[in-house]
Symmetry: C3
Subunit: 109 residues, 3 copies
């Protein structure tokens, strides 16, 4: 058994959970501090047999990999019109940081 | 030293924390995403000396093990009376998923 | 690579995050249950190369180490004046519990 800890962006969290369930992985989500206030992270804990580690990594990469995304311009509210960009911009979203940890014992009660 | 990560149901969380403290274990609880909305999980991080791992596992099993519980019928509000079950039903509650991890260093500052 | 799990008091959390960023460490904060209700803990997950583990431990110790602090007396509200202590008292604050875990694989997607 291995324990996979994967830190992903909140916006990819549901897609990853669905993909894990579809592939019969069991995962627990840990909340991050400050998740209510800004675009935050979610940490997944995934317990898996050794032979399925590669598949789990593939599911994480496909659900969360860093990519460019067009962001619609947001009209400034009453504010600094100088900083207003009136066309969509490309921003980098997603990404995952993944740790695979050895386990000495695994139990289900 | 070992680090035990135990994922348990919220409803068993207080009982487990009390049992751990009674047995001189030190634990930290990690919140789960969505814990406010549905019956969620709590993840305990428990640091313990190697010789006390078996005792910690026993405490977790006794506080959280999966068991049947009678659930009182809930009267449907305005709703679909067809799905109303007018007698208590047995539901499975509790359970714990436990990982015992090796530690290379342990420090208290 | 190593994964460092550090449990620190909420009040030291911002100082630690700043010190980690200054020293080019990447960290994720995990929220604790009950953090809204009482002085709680924050758990930092820090992934680092083996050669920088000692530096990370030094940063954690300097930001969070247990120390004495003078606490201003709080006037009892309507309450038991017998228990009122009309001078500052020293309380112990801070402290960190730190686990250094081995990693089998580390990935960034
Ligand atoms: Ni294994
Ligand atoms: Ni040990
Ligand atoms: Ni290494």
């Amino acid at each position: 058994m291995k324990l996979i800890m994967a830190v992903v962006q909140d916006q990819d969290s549901n897609r990853l959970m669905n993909a894990l369930v579809e592939n019969n992985f069991r995962a627990t989500k840990l909340a991050t501090t400050g998740g209510f206030l800004k675009s935050g992270n979610t940490t997944f804990m995934i317990g898996t047999e050794d032979v399925r580690v590669e598949k789990a990594l593939e599911v994480i990469r496909e659900s969360c990999k860093s990519r460019e995304q067009l962001m619609a311009p947001v009209s400034p509210m009453g504010g600094n019109a100088d900083s207003y960009i009136p066309y969509p911009v490309e921003v980098s979203v997603g990404g995952a940081t993944v740790f695979v940890l050895p386990i000495e014992q695994f139990h289900q009660f």
